[in-house]
């Protein structure tokens, strides 16, 4: 049984439709990403999932319960870390953990939790004196202090420095390792690629695709591209009849082959057998960002630059 089931969810604020006809389901033990640019309706969707907002239409089930009708029961079992949700300035870390752990019937060991989140040394510090990363980690700790079965984390690493981001990612993987299902809202492609088992790609209040990060990248026409300079000219048909090759293009002295799967190996081996040597070989893989551009027809950050508009920008991994 899926842990979270969202079916035809719709939510509007006045005339602005924030979320429209959104459906997805999250399986037990997975890290499910809700990915999209700012204003795509991600936060609204999870706020409905955790019962903070009433949907206009559609049904939501979390652990088989209705977030509105069975809210109190559900809140015992779902930990939530919200975007921009502070604590009183003069509350100490230790006091915050103690307070929030008193809210739940089943609770995690507060000292262990502080240790695991690198907050042990800050136990007697006021909330206002913490760094951005420490506040974020405390926020995560508060979401986990009730030993949730599901953790909903909204914009986990916004405002963190690169090291703190990587530490936080490791932490989330640990939490999942303990059997917690995680619903992760993010507008960072790299975060989704790194952490998520599956991703729902949001755009303008709708889901454009749900798949694994690799699966989404594969969906892009020419998921991979092999570029090289051949030693001698050859017949394109040599490559186009390979099942992993989709298209062959010529760019000056370069040949670019679009394909998927093991396309690099196939191309090189086939050329070798035909007596063609390839030099300056580059393999370019489509990323989640390419998938987004391809699926929505525009750049992730709504900046339509010549590079991204045609979906050609590739993260290079040669």
């Amino acid at each position: 049984m899926p842990v979270v089931e969202v079916d035809h969810l719709r939510k509007a604020y006045g005339t602005t439709v924030a979320v429209d006809d959104v459906s997805f389901s999250v399986d037990e033990g997975e890290i499910f990403g809700i990915l999209g640019p700012n204003g795509a309706g991600k936060t609204t969707a999870v706020e409905c999932v955790v019962g903070l907002r009433v949907p206009d239409a559609g049904t939501i089930r979390v652990l088989g319960l209705d977030p509105r009708a069975d809210g109190r029961q559900l809140k015992e079992r779902v930990g939530v870390q919200l975007q921009e949700s502070a604590l009183p300035a003069k509350l100490k870390v230790r006091e915050a953990l103690d307070l929030y752990s008193s809210f739940y019937r089943a609770t995690a060991d507060v000292d262990q939790l502080a240790q695991a989140l690198g907050l042990a040394a800050k136990r007697n510090s006021y909330f206002k004196s913490l760094s951005g990363g420490q506040k974020q980690r405390l926020s995560i700790a508060l979401a986990l202090v009730g030993r949730p079965e599901v953790a909903v984390l909204d914009e986990l690493t916004t405002g963190l420095d690169p090291q703190a981001r990587r530490d936080t990612w490791e932490l989330i993987e640990d939490v999942r390792g303990r059997g917690v299902t995680i619903l992760l809202v993010t507008h960072y492609m790299d975060e989704a690629e790194r952490l998520c088992d599956r991703v729902a790609l949001f755009d303008c209040g709708r889901i454009v695709a749900v798949d694994s990060p690799e699966g989404l990248a594969e969906r892009v026409a020419g998921g991979k591209r092999v570029r090289f300079v051949p030693s001698v000219s050859f017949d394109d048909a040599l490559l186009t009849r390979l099942p992993t090759v989709r298209r062959v293009e010529h760019e000056g002295e370069h040949v670019a082959v679009r394909g998927s799967g093991d396309v690099l190996n196939d191309v090189i081996l086939t050329l070798d057998r035909a007596g063609v040597a390839a030099r300056d070989v580059q393999l370019e893989s489509a990323s989640l960002e390419d998938a987004f551009v391809e699926l929505t027809g525009r750049g992730f950050n709504h900046e339509v630059s010549p590079d991204t508009a045609d979906g050609r920008k590739r993260s290079q991994r040669s």
């Binding site: 029961q73 809140k75 079992r77 919200l82 921009e84 502070a86 009183p88 008193s102 809210f103 739940y104």
Partner: protein
């Protein structure tokens, strides 16, 4: 690790409220704006008034009462106004603004518990401050204590109900802590003026006293003064207080937003 909690009793454990109350009390101690205005300042004012010799002499303008005894109910009004309009509203508005209430909404604890904890804390501080001012006034500065004790207590309770209802309404309509402070102050000064802090009601011009009769603190002081002098408070000030309490409590409940 996840025991079956689907059969667990609903809602947060009771101890969560006590923990919340205790934590909020600590925070109130660390940011003692309510304590300063609701307890420190009235006691200081009492000591200052008591050290003015003229304040302790019976005054013909006041029907033979001393200024000090006239000021005791005014200081009581001051205590209630400070705690209801500043002590209660400041933390609640900033909690809403910073998302503290929203965060609590995601836990088994309903955010109304935070409000309840704040109410309890400010009411306790009010009780302590009132006891302190009355006891100090009577025991140390020779003020004649309230002669009609049940009437005095009833007046205090109704005044507290009216003021705290207004305080909750301010907390309900203020979107930010700055708005709460502004609205609280805008209300505080006219209310305390009509209580007679600058011109006691006894020597107020008739027009001002007529207005004062229908303000919450004016009615409170009127009721308290008559209880001080030995008669049960008249019906009108008590009804005025009941009306304020009812209207603002209903408005607060209707308008309160948790985020």
């Amino acid at each position: 690790m996840n025991t079956d909690r689907s059969t667990a009793p609903r809602g947060a454990p009771r101890r969560a409220f006590w923990k919340l109350l205790f934590t909020e009390a600590k925070l109130a101690w660390r940011q003692p704006i309510g304590l300063i205005f609701g307890l420190g300042l009235p006691v200081l004012l009492l000591v200052i008034f008591a050290s003015i010799p003229a304040f302790k002499k019976p005054n013909a303008d006041l029907g033979g009462s001393t200024y000090l005894s006239i000021y005791l109910p005014i200081l009581a009004a001051f205590i209630l106004a400070s705690l209801a309009l500043i002590g209660l509203t400041a933390p609640l508005a900033s909690y809403r603004e910073q998302g503290v209430l929203r965060r609590v909404s995601t836990t088994p604890v309903p955010p109304s518990w935070v409000l309840a904890a704040q109410l309890v804390i400010n009411l306790v501080v009010a009780a302590v401050a009132l006891l302190l001012v009355v006891t100090l006034g009577v025991a140390a500065f020779g003020v004649q204590g309230p002669k009609q004790v049940p009437g005095f207590i009833l007046s205090i309770l109704l005044a507290a109900a009216a003021l705290f209802a207004i305080g909750l309404w301010v907390a309900a309509i203020s979107r930010t802590s700055q708005a709460a402070a502004a609205i609280g102050n805008i209300l505080f000064f006219p209310l305390i003026f009509f209580a007679g802090l600058w011109i006691p009601r006894n020597i107020m011009p008739a027009v001002l006293r007529g207005i004062s009769d229908f303000t919450p603190l004016g009615a409170a002081v009127q009721a308290l003064q008559s209880a001080m002098q030995g008669s049960f408070p008249p019906a009108r000030p008590l009804l005025v207080l009941v009306a304020y309490a009812a209207v603002f409590a209903v408005a607060a409940v209707k308008l309160f937003k948790w985020e």
